[in-house]
């Protein structure tokens, strides 16, 4: 039996998982349209590589990754690309984001795809490339590109592989039902991961003790593989990466570091399944298991959902009763967020759609003043001081917030859950984190602007210095000329190049020389004529524009009429002058 450790704090909210595991994973009818957001992951948004009107097959690449920390997107079903535009997505701001909409043709035809069965003899780099091409990102909720996570670099040997089957949040049973039905494939996926990571010494599946069926399902498949299924007592939030690492290994992940820095890699069990499908079956990530639950829906069940399925499609299929509950939550009751509308699509990180009734999750009670009881600090699984963070967030004291490790907060909500004054603590921390990040960005921009300004000053000063130097040189030359005997009259360049200033002792001679230069600059009559004609043409054009503007201004009775009519007059006069000059020349 593997030893397990106990994380500090944590709470035991009512589990409410039994409602959604009474049936097997269901299939949904294909929705009419699917909307695939280009950014469903941490990193740069994908770039579309299809056009509107193009026919696509299931699994076809519709968006390419942008850079290293990015993933491609694939068509979840066959059909036609009907739009590439901004659409509402599942984001707390309610703002729109770029998406690709596909109108399904109902046939659900797969593109030709092929996996490899002998992954042990393929190089890890190639396997990671396949994972990347399949568009797999963390399906536990964070959405970090898995190919990047599986590529920790040769200088970081991986000693422990942890598969996260905890699913600690109430209501969600997506991973639980996936394990019950797909245990064999999941174990296959773990073996693939082991091959990618050069066979780490320890491979553990961390699972809570409230999933006996899943544990039983895994048991026969892990026998003799070296993979241990480590069961530990249920507590929220044990499923957080740092918390799970501590429970299974007793090691604390230092602030600001990644698990790879201590020789560990932690992946969600759903992601593991997706990796198996990608490598062995050659299928990119186009669907995931999503729990639909809550008392406001008639049927509570897990479904194999296509990425991009509108939430309304899910709800309609499950007899959603809008009157029974005030909101639809994407995610669980602790870390999920209320959707701005049901017309948003499911993304790769959506593990649950929760439609609670008013009785299940009542409206928020108004927050009351903090009584400094300290319950929040007792509940915090990251051993932070939520009370202090709250006071400093209110006072917007960024220095003190960072000193109290604000960025180590995993926003699990345990502190808000226990607060007797119903203070929405996590919202304070999110706001404070946003403020601090914004201030950091502003600082970077300001530093950049300062650099440019200093360079600008430098440049001006340099130009001044050069001008000074030239002036000094010319003065020197003039003085030297005075000392030397005066030279003959200077020659004028026929092509109009500025001749060098020849030394001349008397003022009259200097003036004569300058006049001669000016005359030389006039160049030939043909050139002059051509130049005048060009000027006339340009001035005529300007006149037309100016007259148009004046007409507009008169039509709209704007107060710029006087200014514009003066401009028109000016341009007319200039045109007249140029025409006169041309006439003189040709005469």
């Amino acid at each position: 039996m593997n030893k397990t450790w106990v994380t500090p704090g944590g709470v035991h909210p009512p589990e409410n998982k039994h409602q959604s595991v009474t049936q097997s994973i269901g299939q949904l009818p294909i929705p009419e349209t699917l909307v695939i957001p280009l950014s469903q992951h941490i990193g740069a948004a994908a770039i579309p590589c299809v056009e509107i009107g193009q026919t696509v097959l299931k699994g076809q690449v519709i968006a390419k990754p942008a850079g290293v920390v990015s993933i491609p997107m694939h068509a979840p079903t066959s059909g036609t690309v009907s739009a590439i535009e901004h659409r509402p997505i599942a984001h707390s701001s309610g703002m729109l984001a770029p998406c690709i909409e596909i109108t399904s043709d109902g046939a659900d035809t797969w593109i030709e795809h092929e996996g490899i069965s002998d992954y042990e003899h393929i190089s890890p780099a190639k396997l990671v490339e396949m994972v990347g091409n399949a568009g797999i990102s963390g399906m536990g909720g964070a959405g970090f590109p898995s190919a990047v996570k599986l590529n920790p670099g040769r200088q970081r040997p991986i000693d422990t592989l942890i598969i996260n089957a905890t699913e600690c949040e109430p209501y969600i049973t997506a991973d639980d039902s996936a394990i019950r039905e797909r245990a064999e494939e999941i174990v296959e996926g773990i073996k693939i991961l082991s091959a990618i990571l050069d066979h780490p010494n320890h491979i553990m599946i961390g699972i809570e003790d409230n999933k006996p069926e899943a544990i039983e399902a895994l048991a026969p498949h892990v026998e003799g593989t070296g993979i241990s299924v480590v069961v530990f007592p249920t507590k929220y939030p044990s499923g957080g990466e740092k918390q799970l690492i501590y429970i299974l290994t007793g090691k604390e992940l230092p602030s600001g570091k990644l698990p790879a820095d201590i020789g560990m890699v932690c992946l969600n069990i759903g992601t593991t399944y997706a990796i198996k499908r990608a490598i062995i079956d050659g299928e990119p990530l186009v669907s995931r298991v999503t729990t639909v639950t809550g008392d406001a829906v008639g049927i509570q069940r897990n479904y194999d959902t296509l990425i991009g399925t509108p939430v309304s499609h899910l709800l309609a299929h499950n007899e959603y009763n809008e009157q029974a509950g005030g909101r639809v939550v994407m995610g669980g009751p602790m870390m999920g967020f209320t959707l701005p509308s049901a017309e948003v699509p499911i993304v790769k990180t959506t593990n649950c759609i929760l439609a609670p009734s008013y009785a299940e999750i009542p409206d928020d009670e108004p927050a009351q003043p903090c009584i400094r009881c300290g319950m929040c600090a007792e509940a915090c699984p990251a051993s932070l001081l939520p009370q202090q963070l709250f006071w400093y967030a209110q006072a917007q004291d960024h220095e003190r917030l960072e000193a109290h490790n604000l960025f180590d907060c995993i926003e699990c909500g345990a502190c808000s859950y226990v607060c007797p004054s119903n203070i929405p603590l996590v919202q304070y921390y999110r706001a404070a984190k946003g403020e601090i990040r914004h201030a950091r960005d502003e600082k970077v921009k300001a530093d950049h602007a300062r650099e440019r300004f200093e360079f600008h000053k430098e440049r001006i000063e340099q130009a001044e210095r050069e001008k000074e130097a030239k002036r000094a040189a010319r003065r020197e030359a003039a003085l030297k000329a005075k000392a030397n005997p005066p030279a003959a009259d200077k020659i004028n360049g026929a092509s109009g190049t500025k001749p060098e200033a020849k030394p001349s002792s008397s003022a009259a001679e200097i003036i004569a020389a300058a006049q001669a230069r000016a005359a030389a600059k006039q160049a030939s009559p043909e050139d002059q004529k051509a130049k005048l004609e060009r000027t006339i043409a340009a001035t005529e054009q300007r006149l037309i524009v100016a007259e148009e503007k004046l007409a507009e201004a008169i039509a709209s009775d704007s107060d710029k009429q006087a200014v514009l009519s003066a401009a028109v007059e000016n341009t007319r006069q200039k045109l007249q002058q140029s025409k006169t000059k041309l006439a003189e020349l040709t005469a």
Partner: protein, 209 residues
């Protein structure tokens, strides 16, 4: 000698005090040489906190001169682009109270703006290029002038010099990447007539009657 001093108290007092003064004076003089300080690094630290738009709204020709002035005791609330957050940061650094932004120098605007040249009207005079403190305008004499939006700090200095008035300050659109959570309402504000924190001198419809 000691007897002379001991018997003559006034002389003793004089000698003692003068002696002590000379001794300590010498020690301090030596220390002053050893601990000589050049320059004033506080100016650097204040300059780091200013937004570097070089807009001149504070009355100084740039952010560094204003930082120097603050180091010499000037008011810290003259920078509108920096806004209240900059005032708070400087107050925190210098351990002085943080006043409100001085409205005389401008208002803090919520929306960031960036300059945009209407190219149809540009005459290529380079006056705006010379005015821009961060060289964010691309162009040359008689050639098209364009603002590089990423480099523009929104300082407004190019709008004035333009002889054809073809520069607009357009607001920058907020994208989903810029969106931030807003801080929740202070807890405990449940009673409607509870004027916690506000001065009671403000009349409202109930009291004015």
């Amino acid at each position: 000698m000691i007897e002379l001093i001991s018997q003559n108290p006034i002389l003793a007092a004089l000698v003692a005090l003068v002696g002590l003064a000379i001794l300590f004076g010498a020690l301090l003089g030596f220390a002053a040489e050893k601990f000589k300080v050049e320059g004033d690094p506080i100016v650097e630290q204040i300059d780091e906190l200013l937004p570097q738009t070089q807009c001149g709204q504070c009355g100084f020709p740039g952010c560094r001169p204003y930082a120097e002035s603050i180091a010499n005791g000037d008011e810290i609330n003259k920078c509108p682009p920096g806004g209240q957050s900059t005032i708070n940061a400087i107050a925190n650094l210098l351990d002085v109270p943080a006043p409100e932004l001085d409205a005389e120098h401008g208002e803090e605007s919520e929306v960031k703006t960036v300059a945009y040249i209407r190219e149809d009207e540009c005459i290529g005079c380079t006056k705006c290029i010379q005015a821009c403190p961060v060289d964010a305008i691309l162009g040359a004499a008689k050639l098209m002038h364009t603002v590089i939006a990423d480099e523009c700090t929104g300082c407004d200095l190019c709008v004035e010099p333009c002889p054809v008035d073809c520069i607009d300050m357009l607001p920058v659109e907020e994208t989903i990447a810029d969106w931030r959570w807003s801080i929740p309402v202070q807890p405990g504000q449940m009673i409607a007539t509870d004027r916690r924190g506000e001065l009671a001198s403000q009349p409202n419809s109930e009291d004015a009657a």
